[in-house]
């Protein structure tokens, strides 16, 4: 049987930084004139996110998120919006891949590449909780769709 997670793993999951973003989410709200608007739901748990992006050429100029969900999905969305502001779509694609690898436990948060993920590295504990990986990736999947919307526009 897959063993329940240890107390240490639980503590590693719910770091203060994550709980801080959950309690005081950054960039929560809506934009007046978004270039891309995406709604996404996790049908398994009912979590939902709305993501609005304003582009400046090829780069994300501003971004806001709305919706409700667990601490992991909310903190991940909050941190992601901070990280991607001012980044080009190519840079964001690379960050998304790094974050996904981190969530799937393929990479560790201490690597040089991973340092670019900044505060999102605090979510590395999620890798030990397979049932919660989708929570952490929800905002990123929404952003993926927003970028795709931009490309096809």
């Amino acid at each position: 049987m897959s063993q329940p997670n240890s107390s240490a793993e639980i503590s590693a999951l719910y770091q203060e930084l994550i709980l801080d973003h959950y309690r005081r989410p950054r960039n929560k709200g809506t934009l007046e004139k978004p270039d891309a608007s995406v709604e996404m739901k996790n049908p398994l748990c009912g979590d939902e996110i709305g993501l609005q992006v304003e582009f400046d050429g090829n780069a994300v100029h501003d971004v806001r998120f709305s919706g409700r969900g667990c601490s992991i999905s909310q903190a991940s969305a909050s941190m992601m919006t901070q990280l991607v502001k001012g980044k080009s779509t190519q840079e964001i694609d690379a960050l998304r891949n790094q974050f996904r690898d981190l969530m799937l436990g393929v990479t560790s948060p201490s690597g040089e590449e991973e340092s670019k993920l900044g505060s999102l590295r605090a979510l590395s504990g999620v890798a030990r909780f397979p049932a919660r990986v989708k929570c952490a990736l929800l905002a990123w999947n929404a952003l993926d769709n927003a970028l795709a919307e931009r490309r096809s526009a």
């Binding site: 049987m1 793993e9 719910y14 009912g46 409700r68 969900g69």
Partner: protein, 404 residues
């Protein structure tokens, strides 16, 4: 009642507090033994062979049907069709009776309390037939609003589908009164989702004044993949087959085919005989305890859980008073999301369900994306509630609750 030792998974994991029996129950040794015993002593394809082993398999399968029918108060055991579970039973009625009898302009009634399995098949049927799909609203405490229901019923109503017990809240619906209302105001058939009632209290189909009742074996100590649909004989005989193939035929001519008698008409293909036999062992086990005692045991655990959980500041319990519920407690804890709660409880060995419980229409009406749900069964005891409460307190500490 100390039955934990009868359940290998629980006996082998002393620190495990399994509070998700509304999703699926654990299995006692007698059920696992029955499954193995069938394959070791009686395995052959039922209804097929002239040799004695096949006859033995057929007898085992038949006896299982009789035993389970007896457990659920069905005198005519041929009216119990084995299915994969409740979902397939309900889909059978929708696809067979529904497709043959519902017409454009007819009305189909479900309730906002229903599981997706007793909601979506009717919604799809209504869309296919151009019938009106109507959802009965609830009272604020999560019961079927009988006044609302009364106002919906009319001579156009063809189907009324409702759950005996809500899987999400534990609400025990007033089946007798609903049946009386429906009979009085409509010519509709009554379809009851019994997934959460058959495992938890005595059910006697013949005295229920309904037309169809579906149940799942895996929620009542049986294996996954076996359950049943009980139906009114006259209706089952009138209904076209649900699936076609082997076993369900009488004569297959080049141009057309005639159907086998009940129950075989609705059981195309090789039956799940081993699981039926194991489910018969499960109801034997439940009968030894006594279904009244099962109910009493769950009630006492639920009252205790209600009392202990209510004492936790910031915890909100959904649904009606404990006296009107089966062994389910659905709750939220202030700003700790149910998913986070379930993760932290899992770390303490406590298994609860967090999510929409396959009841999204209900969650919309409660205006929550998810709740946490603890559900009780015969093997639970006070220590499970102690662990649940301790885990919730721990979650609250992690999330920074400061007692006043």
């Amino acid at each position: 009642m100390n039955l934990r030792r009868d359940f290998p998974l629980l006996a082998n994991n002393p620190g495990l507090h399994y509070l998700d029996s509304a999703a699926t129950s654990q299995k006692p040794t007698v059920v696992l033994d029955a499954l193995r015993d069938f394959y070791e002593t009686a395995n052959a394809n039922p209804h097929r062979g002239a040799y004695s082993l096949s006859v033995r398999a057929t007898e085992c399968y038949h006896q299982a049907r009789v035993r389970i029918a007896q457990f659920l108060g069905v005198r005519d055991s041929d009216c119990l069709i084995f299915t994969r579970g409740t979902t397939e039973g309900l889909n059978l009625v929708a696809a067979s009776w529904g497709m043959a009898n519902v017409a454009s302009g007819d009305e189909i009634v479900v309730t906002a309390l229903d599981h997706h399995a007793n909601f979506v098949p009717w919604q799809v049927l209504a869309l296919r037939k151009g019938a009106k799909f109507r959802v009965c609203e609830l009272t604020p405490d999560g019961k079927i609003d009988l006044d609302f229901l009364g106002g919906m019923l009319n001579r156009k109503t063809r189907i009324v589908a409702f759950s005996h017990v809500s899987n999400a809240l534990g609400t025990i619906n007033p089946l007798v009164e609903i049946a009386r209302m429906v009979r009085e105001k409509t010519d509709a058939i009554l379809v009851c989702d019994g997934a959460q009632s058959a495992p938890h209290f005595p059910v006697s189909f013949d005295s229920l004044n309904i037309d169809f009742y579906a149940f799942s074996g895996h929620k009542m100590l049986g294996p996954m993949g076996i359950g049943g649909l009980i139906g009114n004989r006259a209706m089952l005989e009138e209904m076209p087959p649900y699936q076609t193939g082997g076993d369900m035929i009488e004569f297959v001519h080049d141009e057309r085919t005639t159907w086998n008698v009940l129950p075989h008409k609705f059981e195309a293909g090789t039956p799940n005989a081993a699981n039926a036999v194991a489910l018969a062992a499960a109801v034997e086990y439940l009968d030894k305890i006594g279904m009244d005692r099962v109910l009493e045991h769950e009630r006492s655990l639920m009252s205790l859980a209600q009392e202990r959980l209510t004492a936790i500041e910031g915890l909100h319990i959904y649904g009606p008073a404990p006296a009107e519920r089966s062994g389910v407690v659905s709750f939220t804890m202030n700003d700790v999301h149910p998913h986070d709660l379930a993760t932290i409880l899992d770390g303490e060995g406590v298994c609860i369900r967090a999510g929409h419980h396959c009841a999204q229409p209900l969650m919309r009406r409660l205006d929550v994306p998810a709740t946490a749900r603890a559900s009780f069964y015969v093997y639970n005891d006070e220590s499970d509630i102690d662990a649940l409460v301790a885990g919730i307190i721990k979650a609250r500490e992690i999330f920074g609750y400061v007692p006043a």
